[in-house]
Symmetry: none
Subunit: 383 residues, 2 copies
Amino acid sequence: MLSSAVCSFMLMKLGVNSGFSARNCMWASPAAFRRQEFLIRCLGGYSDQGYQGKMQKVKSIGQPTSEADGEKILRAITPTLDPSKHKGQAGKIAVIGGCREYTGAPYFAAITALKIGADLSHVFCTKDAAPVIKSYSPEIIVHPILEESYSVRDEEKRSTAGKVLAEVDKWMERFDCLVVGPGLGRDPFLLDCVSEIMKHARQSNIPIVVDGDGLFLVTNCLDLVSGYPLAVLTPNVNEYKRLVQKVLSCEVNDEDAHGQVLSLAQRICGVTILRKGKHDLITDGETVRSISIYGSPRRCGGQGDILSGSVAVFTSWARQVVSASDWHTSISPRNPTMLGCIAASTLLRKAASLAFREKKRSTLTTDIIEYLGRSLEDICPVS
Amino acid sequence: MLSSAVCSFMLMKLGVNSGFSARNCMWASPAAFRRQEFLIRCLGGYSDQGYQGKMQKVKSIGQPTSEADGEKILRAITPTLDPSKHKGQAGKIAVIGGCREYTGAPYFAAITALKIGADLSHVFCTKDAAPVIKSYSPEIIVHPILEESYSVRDEEKRSTAGKVLAEVDKWMERFDCLVVGPGLGRDPFLLDCVSEIMKHARQSNIPIVVDGDGLFLVTNCLDLVSGYPLAVLTPNVNEYKRLVQKVLSCEVNDEDAHGQVLSLAQRICGVTILRKGKHDLITDGETVRSISIYGSPRRCGGQGDILSGSVAVFTSWARQVVSASDWHTSISPRNPTMLGCIAASTLLRKAASLAFREKKRSTLTTDIIEYLGRSLEDICPVS
């Protein structure tokens, strides 16, 4: 079973979208496995021995996690500002979230994307949430298209879901990254629609950053991200606990935080996980990096939304530059989602530390957002 | 009658939730009283003689009220900021208020909680009020669930009330404190729903700070808070007058402000009262403290909402630290609601004085809120 999971994961790493879900990989036939193994070899992938050895190496319990050079990576993936570029080339991000109860979270993620340097930031939310999110900022394009159960009669659900999906699909190909979850809520009908949106994004090879209620959805339906190397999960302490319980059938073990988060990423067949905490741990099932510089002791709600918006932008930038001929070969790791997470964690911590230095105990998420630009400039000056 | 009221109050102080309401305590049988007296002795409570003597002492008319060392208390109950903590551990506050007419008051209370250092701040309000309150700040989580009479047909009231209560109950256990009243309005159906919310909060031992229209509700239904030591009433001059008239059947007597507020707290069986005025008077029926430092001569509307939000945060912090082994034994009083009121009064006065120094006659509540962080830092520096 592990072998077929690993196989699917490697296929994905190599850019082969096999439609191989977690359930599939758990029950793949030996024949199917052999076919995939052959394909990987043809594509110049791993040898069985080498990969197993690598897995054993990184799985060793208690191994110290190496601190990523977040600032260096951030500088390496941030595009130069070039007057000849046109609108959209620095990134188009979409946040799927915002419902009757929650409007702040999708705003935080979307405005963060713009403040970091994306050109366009969209929010797809419910009709109730849209006017409020629009009122926070005229910079964000807000689509009032999602529906919650209370606003849809049972006999209309099928056609409504179709309309929602068609509306998002009109835009899908334009986006460089989706953020799924900030302020999404847990309405079953809404989550069903969002599941379909995620499937379409995946078919289009668009990176998906999953946070908040998106993690609730994914924890209950791992197939949505399993085996998709462009999926990033950004769990906080409680979300991580639920993921570990569901996927690894055990409790969180902080004495082997490194090994456990690595196992988790492997078991979800190669998604990237950014485990938020005192030190952020980032893994794609191959390597683990930690980010522990800077930071703030304030834990006001909304900081996770800054992070998910940042991961989206940096991941889309990293995808562009990693494949470019002039990519810094000294940069490690090379996986764009890993690079995106490392840069995002570094930037959020820097901005939070600057905001906290000024605002102390009264630091709020909006204060941190105001320091994103200054933090970027400190790390990666424009000129 | 006084004895049974005192008895119920003492039971509550000792942590015995007897379900003994004001009406019950007014009509308790001699046998019931003896059983409770016995229980108090078993719990190591007062002796008749000692307690009566204490009551006589604190009830003496004209006794000078001791000024609380508000800054010392604020420092003692404010938690240290620790990077290993996670979101929610510094407090989760909910404000029940906000209707078609009033939207500013619940916002002021909720944003104050965040500015002081709580991690999450919720508002439960009517559907009309929600988009407006949300638009004031993306930091606050606003639940549009309360209903006023005009929007509910008579035959639907029962089921609607059930839905409202179920919705709040989903969240109740997560909250460290409720603030009931800012911008609540006086719609009878809405107040009936809020009464039920208060009963559920009480069953869950969640502190309740009652202000504004919440005090109108409570004055007409004392059972809601009577005998509940985690209830805090924060009346202004008019609200205090109505309380005194209703509970003590007399007029406000400023010559014996100390004795009268003490009697009032005793007659409501041990709630904590913060009587706002030139000097704030704070009592739980046992001791009275005053806060008269700092302050501002501006009386713009909304300052009471800052106070109620502050009391909520400081009370929840005080509850945590008073029971901790390293609690400063030199701090007096020890009742968390008293400590919360003293810290909140001190902080608001400090922030108001700083805002007034800058803005003079044009000082508004939002200006004072902007000084909460600086005031906290002056009194209780982060490092």
